[in-house]
Structures are given as C-alpha cells and as structure tokens.
C-alpha cells in the first residue's frame, strides 16, 4: 500500500491515531435529518423509502439534491445543509 507523509503526533496520544467517525446519535427523534440526493437515476425512489422510515422514527426530514453526481456538492449547498440540519445522510451507489 502506498502511503503519504509521516508526521509525529503532537497530542497526548489518548485517542487512536486513525480518525474515527463521529459517534452516532442515540435517536433521530426530534432531529432534522437531511437527505442528499446525488442525482443518480432512481436514487429518489430509495430516498423516499428512507424518508418514510426516518419520519416514522420521529425525525424531521429535508431533501436536497446535487445538480450532478459527477461533481462534489456546491459549497452553497453544503453550507445550507450544515445550517438547516442536525444530521445528514449521503451515499454513493450504482
């Protein structure tokens, strides 16, 4: 495996060096969850299903979509999601 630059850890080394995902919320009830449609065909069908499940669990759901799956989400869209949502679901699939 090819690797990048090696640096020395400046911290107290009390957490693992590998970055870990943020902890999952205990519940989505009362949270605003953003669903980002990356604009692949029939992604909306899948997200409709996810939206139903989230609503049943007590979440408020907001839908967003990228203009095209070929490029990263525009900065304005990322900032809008960050402002409006507590959580976001985004995935890449074919």
């Amino acid at each position: 495996m090819s690797t990048g630059l090696v640096v020395m850890d400046p911290t107290g080394e009390s957490v693992p060096a590998a970055r870990t995902p943020l902890p999952l919320p205990a519940s989505v009830a009362g949270k605003v969850v953003g669903l980002l449609d990356i604009s692949k065909p029939r992604g909306d069908v899948f997200l409709d299903h996810v939206e139903g499940k989230l609503k049943a669990a007590g979440a408020e759901v907001r839908r967003y979509s990228k203009p095209t799956f070929t490029r990263p989400a525009p900065t304005a869209l990322r900032q809008q999601i960050a402002e409006e949502c507590d959580l976001v679901l985004e995935a890449l699939a074919d």
């Binding site: 990048g4 020395m8 911290t11 107290g12």
Partner: protein
C-alpha cells in the same frame, strides 16, 4: 580481559583512502571489525561490513572518519577520529602500523552526522507516535482535520523536522516537564519540540518554548484555571535577557504586534502545547466567553533599558540571566499622553488608564502589566525616577475611597459591599502592578495589559522562570 576494535571508514574520504594499507593490515585480525559507510567494496579486503543504515556509526557516536574505537570488556577505552599515526599505533599496540604514512591527516565528516542521514537517525530514537497521512490527502488540510491547529496553518511535524528542532536544546527529549492541564498529560521535551515545529519555531527558539511551558506549569501560574475560565485571559510571555536579541526577538517598534517570527511562534507554541498535549480547546474545557486575539500568540521581548531594572532583576535573577515571565493577560489597551514632560502628570495619565482594568470600580482583583515605551520612559529617566518610584506613585494615585467603589456608586451596580464605604482601597494587590519596557523610539504611547480577574492565591500570579539552554 577481552579487547576488540572497531574501525569505521567511507570510500568518499581521501584520508580513509590514504590509510588503505593500514586497513589491509588490520582486516585479517579477528579482534578488528571494519565498517564501511558508503561502499562495501572499500577497502578491498574480506570481512568489511556495510553500514548501510548508518546505525552502527550513529550508535558508536562517530563524527569523523576514519574512526578507530577500542573496547575492553565492552567498555570503550580509547578512540581516535582522523588519522593520527601515533595514536593508532598506541591504541592498536603496533608500533610499525602505517609507518610509511604521514603522521597526521584530518578525516571527513561521518555520514551519520551529515544531513539528511543525521536527522533520520536521530528521529528514529524519538518516542512519539507516528501518524501516516493518506497519500491523496492535502497535508495542510489533513493537519487541520486532526485538530492540531489553532485555526492557522501549521508546519507538518515530520520526524526529521522534530529531530532538527531538538538540536536547539541540550536536554534529553524524554525529559518530562510536568503535567499539562486540563487533561494532566505528562509532557516531554520531545512533545514540546513537535508543537514548536507546528508553530513554526526555529530550533534556537526551543529553549524559550521549553521555559515557557515549565513556567506555565508552575502552581502559582494556575494554568488549569486560566484555561478553563470564562474570562478573556491567556498566557502572555515576556522574554528578558541577551538570548532574546540573539534569537532575533522584537522588543522595539511593534513589539506587541505581528511580523517577528520568534515573537509569533514562541507564544503560539505554548498555546499549541496546551491545546494538543493538554487537550485544552475553545468551547471544550476553555470556557472563555470572548477570549482575546492574544490567545493565538502573545509574546515579546523586554527592551534592555539600562536605567531601569529588568524583569530578571525584579525576580531576583542576575540582570544578564535569560528568563521568561508569564502573565495571565487580556488584550492591549493603549494610553496616549503627548503633553507630559514631568513624571507626576504622566503617572496621573497612567493611573487613570489602569483604573479601568476589569472595571473602574473593581479593586484587588486583576493584576496588570504596564508596558512603558521609550518616549514615556525618557520622562521618568530625565527626572531620575526609578521603576520602583513610578510603581509606588502609581499605587498612591490608584488608592481610592470606598465611597467611589461601593455598589451603586456612579450609577453602577458593580462594586464593593456598602459596608466598605469608609475604607480606602488600592487598585492592585501587593505586587499586582508590573512595569516592563518595550516599544519603538517614536510615540508617547504606552500600553496597559490587564490580567485575569482571579489573581494571586485565588488565581494566577505572574511567574518568572530562567531559561536553560
């Protein structure tokens, strides 16, 4: 008693080449180990070991080749670096050795002390965890993402850079300086060096950074409380002594401002140690309501004004010592007085400005530093006023009746209990007002730097700590 000898050479050294006959004579001896740093085919004799990693040379501490080291019962008993015929003959107990060669030829630098090998070899001895960044990661973004930055770009702390940084001190990288709050994590000289690299320090600044960390961990400074407080303050570092000039610190024009690498990075390195080693982060244990921009870095040098005592002398150190003074500081408040030409009116101006530290009606709370500029200092010098005289006058001018300070006085609820109305109060506690000289030649401007509202035994006292090189 077992005798053995190690000889280290490199092909790219004319002296090593010159002594080829000696090496050929030694090669058959069982007690002699021959190491070649760069070319296993040199010298062209059997049994030459190639020190391809240079670890053997490094571990032996070889600085010059050719090197001859003698061991008796595994204790080093003699060493000669370079070719000194008499020494080699004596160590190897062979009076005919190299008789045809010149008496003396200096050697060449060992590859193990030559960059980049020297840094790699020194870095291998360091203890801190190595973190491998992803090949596709942008290095700067990766360091931001890991939370190692104060918000500004940092220098990637590669093992080689950390090894170079540690050249700035004679202290053992493994030496523990104390426990850094808030998580009370033991901090080594090596961890300080890593954060000094992040901050952008040169190796020659490292002793100052180490002293600043040591000072911050002294109990009277109360670094834990200073970090955790909702108050504005953070550690300010004032460097006093010839070292400040030697490493290029600024004590003159814009001393409290931007643009000087040593001032900027030494103060920043201290804050990064608190952040990274101690785990003290804004909106984490750092509960500051507003903070202040000095929490990125706040460090300057004291001017060597010969007419006033300096911070060394104020702390009982010799005038020419090197020290850091740490103060739990807020921001800078300017004082303009362009009219005073005698000490008393200037002290009146200073006193009015000092009165408002924390709140005009608060007394015996925060400490303060008064940074006196050259043009203001001149007014005192012309009148023959020492620092002590100025300080005493300011304390007199800052002593006020309780009626002005009690709750409700001046229409302000903030204030002392009404029962204290008949007493008089000094603004600052004993030792709570400190004077320091700095600034550019032009401008009748001085500065008040107010401190944390919790001073002295209930909070932080300024500390002066000597710098060890």
């Amino acid at each position: 008693m077992s005798q053995r000898y190690v000889v280290v050479v490199k092909a790219d050294c004319p002296t090593c080449q010159l002594i080829t006959p000696v090496l050929e004579a030694l090669a058959p001896r069982e007690t002699v180990a021959l190491w070649s740093q760069d070319d296993p085919a040199f010298p062209a004799v059997p049994g030459v070991q190639h020190d391809v990693t240079l670890k053997a040379s490094f571990d032996l501490g070889v600085e010059i080749v050719p090197a001859l080291i003698a061991f008796s019962d595994e204790e080093e008993v003699a060493r000669c670096e370079g070719w000194e015929r008499a020494a080699w003959q004596s160590i190897l107990e062979d009076s005919a050795l190299g008789a045809e060669l010149p008496a003396l030829r200096p050697g060449c630098a060992s590859l193990s002390v030559t960059p980049p090998h020297s840094e790699r070899l020194r870095a291998e001895r360091l203890a801190a965890r190595r973190v491998t960044l992803g090949q596709e990661e942008d290095i700067q973004e990766a360091l931001f993402d890991r939370g190692w930055s104060d918000g500004l770009p940092v220098v990637p702390p590669t093992p080689e850079r950390v090894a170079r940084m540690l050249e700035g001190t004679t202290r053992d990288p493994a030496e523990v300086l104390g426990d850094v709050p808030p998580n009370l994590v033991p901090v080594t000289v090596e961890k300080v060096a890593i954060n000094a690299v992040l901050a952008g320090c040169k190796p020659e600044y490292l002793p100052v950074v180490i002293a600043a960390v040591e000072a911050a961990l002294l109990p009277p400074f109360c670094m834990h409380g200073l970090l955790a407080t909702t108050y504005f303050s953070g550690p300010m570092v004032v460097v006093c002594g010839p070292l400040a000039k030697a490493i290029g610190m600024n004590s003159q024009g814009n001393a409290l401002g931007q643009g000087n690498r040593a001032n900027a990075t030494i103060g920043r390195a201290l804050q990064l140690v608190i952040r990274n080693v101690g785990g003290g982060r804004p909106q984490g244990v750092d509960r500051a309501t507003l903070g202040n921009p000095g929490k990125y870095t706040f460090c300057f040098a004291e001017d060597g004004d010969p007419q006033w005592s300096n911070l060394n002398e104020d702390a009982g150190l010799p005038r020419n010592a090197n020290s850091v003074t740490l103060f739990a500081a807020d921001g800078v408040q300017g004082i303009v007085d362009q009219k005073a030409r005698t000490p008393e009116p200037l002290c009146r101006s200073f006193a009015e400005a000092l009165k408002v530290v924390s709140h005009p009606k608060m007394v015996q709370a925060a400490d303060a530093f008064l940074v006196v500029s050259p043009e203001h200092a001149r007014v005192f010098h012309d009148a023959g006023w020492s620092k002590e005289t100025v300080t005493k006058t300011l304390r007199d001018y800052l002593t006020r009746p309780g009626q002005e300070l009690i709750r409700g006085a001046g229409g302000m609820e903030e204030g002392l209990p009404p029962a204290l109305a008949e007493r008089r109060f000094e603004k600052f506690r004993e030792g709570g007002l400190r004077l320091v000289r700095a600034g550019g030649e032009a401008g009748m401007f001085s500065a008040v730097i107010g401190g944390w509202g919790a001073s002295g035994t209930i909070g932080s006292s300024p500390v002066t700590h000597e710098i060890r090189l």
